[in-house]
């Protein structure tokens, strides 16, 4: 642990530094490239106005502060949220393949969002993000309900219920998209939502997700020893004084809130919740006191970078961020898996 302890602080420091650099670079990159010093000056001025006297054009300021910075910060928050929720879910069900998708949460958010985007105009008044949030939470309640028997929930039943509900909801989503395929019915909007997007981010979209992220991650971090015990095994957790049912519900609600918020503001972005916790565990082991803070920063770095790729690779068009996470994440994940097996055998 001593070794992991030192390694954690080193890695965490590095990841925070990389995150700050990624944010600045991501803000500089775009249709109108901006010099890095200008970006740094503008951001510093925003943080502490007396520090620097403005020497930039109004247009540059607008690009940085009004367009790019909110988007990059949203990527930071969403990346951290997805990675942290993946970590918690994996510990809860002792399964390294668990992520928000396995539990049907993302599918639930998608159904609700697509319904609002494609169904009768009467529903268009409902904000998509609100619908997605409600959809995610409703699905989690459903999945938990189905997984329950005689007041007991086992990890396996939780996964099975999540996968089944997820498939069902995906089918409904597909039906809604097909149904809306005549022009003007919203199929395009629905598809682009499903592929995940951070475009159109505004400062006012950042407040709630940031608070939810900080609150839930803090709660999970306080409960890191409990997550460790759960990851070790159910009977062990009980013998260490954990009230299994109560703790599971609390953690499930916490992660639902986090996932629901992330999905609501960004659409269904896969792979972050699965990939990042794995990478982090390879670096600092399984202790959640180290894994949780590091997944947050690494997840944020990952999504910020992926979003830059998504909006530059086929510029002036944008590749949906969900597609890029899958396209970058899947090969990387497979490579890592093979590396790890090689190392163990």
């Amino acid at each position: 642990m001593q070794q992991y302890h030192q390694r954690f602080w080193a890695l965490w420091g590095i990841s925070v530094a990389i995150l700050v650099i990624s944010i600045i670079v991501a803000v500089a990159i775009g249709a109108v490239p901006l010099p890095l010093p200008t970006v740094i000056d503008i951001i510093s001025h925003e943080l502490w106005p007396s520090l620097i006297t403005p020497h930039w054009s109004m247009a540059d300021w607008q690009i940085v502060v009004q367009f790019r910075l909110p988007r990059v910060l949203l990527a930071t928050v969403v990346g951290a949220a997805l990675a942290v929720s993946g970590t918690a879910l994996q510990a809860m069900v002792r399964n390294p393949l668990a992520d928000p998708y396995v539990f049907g949460i993302s599918s639930g958010a998608s159904v609700a969002a697509v319904a609002v985007l494609t169904l009768s105009t009467s529903m268009r008044g409902i904000p998509v993000s609100f619908a997605a949030f409600v959809g995610a939470l409703t699905t989690m309640v459903l999945v938990y309900g189905f997984a329950q028997r005689h007041g007991h929930v086992t990890p396996l039943r939780l996964i099975l219920a999540g996968v089944a509900v997820g498939y069902l909801l995906s089918a409904v989503t597909s039906y809604l998209v097909l149904r809306a395929s005549t022009p003007g019915m919203g199929a395009t909007a629905a598809l682009s939502w499903l592929a995940g997007s951070l475009g159109g981010a505004k400062w006012e979209h950042l407040g709630i997700p940031t608070m939810v992220l900080l609150g839930t991650t803090g709660y999970l971090w306080i409960n890191a020893p409990v997550l460790n015990a759960l990851a070790t095994g159910e009977e062990t957790a009980i013998s260490l004084g954990i009230d299994l049912e109560r703790v599971r519900i609390r953690l499930f609600v916490t992660t639902s809130l986090l996932v629901g918020t992330a999905v609501a503001v960004s659409g269904a972005i896969g792979f972050v919740g699965l990939l990042i916790p794995h990478m982090v565990r390879m670096g600092v082991g399984a202790d959640h006191r180290y894994v949780l803070p590091l997944t947050a920063t690494v997840g944020a770095c990952f999504l910020v970078s992926v979003d830059v790729i998504g909006r530059t690779i086929i510029a002036p068009q944008e590749l949906p961020v969900g597609l890029v996470t899958a396209a970058c994440g899947a090969p990387f994940f497979l490579w890592m898996m093979r590396m790890q097996q090689g190392g163990q055998s």
């Binding site: 460790n228 070790t232 095994g233 009977e235 013998s239 260490l240 004084g241 954990i242 009230d243 565990r281």
Partner: protein, 259 residues
């Protein structure tokens, strides 16, 4: 700490697993539970460490009912050594032993230097400190078992429960582990498949057969030719151990099964 199990009956999904079990472990005693496979030994342990509520009956630690305590309170008294199916999470030995401090941690999960001292001490007692940075799932069976005992010790229990602690261990490690447990001075309740080990290391044995206790007492009384023949379906010759004088069992397959 005194464990008193009184008339415990356990049903799982409407099926009766244990019927009217009564058992006592006095402070410092090592009590063994023996019986053929599927007789309900592990179920009995689970109801004592609060993993499975009894349908009727009482489980009392000193004066307190276990099932009226919270899970947390119970964990302050009782520690458990069980081999669970390993997860893919790569915990180090030190992290596994640290889990034993969980019931004693502060409100925000913070551990103190006092905790670190106890963790180091627990690792010393079972001689695993040199493994502290190793990954738990890469250890041998004997090392794993010792690490789990260290975790249980870090919990500072007054009752130690073990489920088949000698499984997968070679003979040297079997004897070392049981000797270690005897030297702890903690009230201990363990299931054991190996009747000779049970005879050597336990003060009292309870023989469980089809969910009921059919014999109880010192090893010399419980491990009789008739009991072994009737409940384990094997013939046995019993002689005193040349050094300890405890019963030593020499098995032969049941004659009825051979012919």
């Amino acid at each position: 700490m005194k464990l008193n199990v009184q008339h415990v009956t356990v049903d799982i999904h409407g099926k009766r697993i244990l019927t009217d079990i009564s058992l006592v472990a006095t402070p410092g005693q090592c009590v063994g539970i023996i019986g053929p496979n599927g007789s309900g030994k592990s179920t009995l342990l689970r109801s004592i460490y609060r993993a499975l509520p009894p349908t009727t009956g009482d489980i009392v630690l000193d004066e307190q009912q276990v099932w009226q305590m919270s899970a947390h309170q119970s964990a302050l008294y009782t520690a458990v050594v069980i081999q669970e199916t390993p997860s893919d999470m790569a915990f180090t030995v030190q992290e596994v032993v640290t889990l034993g401090r969980l019931p004693h941690l502060g409100r925000f999960g913070q551990s103190t230097s006092h905790d670190h001292h106890i963790i180091g001490d627990a690792m010393d007692r079972v001689d695993v400190r040199h493994l502290s940075q190793r990954l738990y799932h890469t250890l041998s069976g004997g090392e794993k078992q010792r690490v789990l005992v260290a975790r249980a010790l870090a919990q500072h229990p007054q009752l130690l429960i073990l489920d088949e602690p000698t499984n997968h261990l070679d003979i040297q490690h079997q004897l070392e582990l049981l000797t270690l447990i005897r030297t702890l001075g903690i009230t201990t309740l363990t299931t054991l498949h190996d009747l000779n080990l049970a005879a050597q290391y336990c003060d009292t044995l309870y023989l469980v057969y089809q969910g009921t206790i059919v014999a109880a007492g010192p090893p010399s009384a419980v491990l009789s030719v008739t009991n072994i023949r009737q409940y384990f379906q094997v013939d046995v010759d019993i002689h005193p151990h040349p050094h300890t004088g405890r019963p030593q069992l020499f098995f032969s397959p049941h004659s009825e099964h051979i012919s």
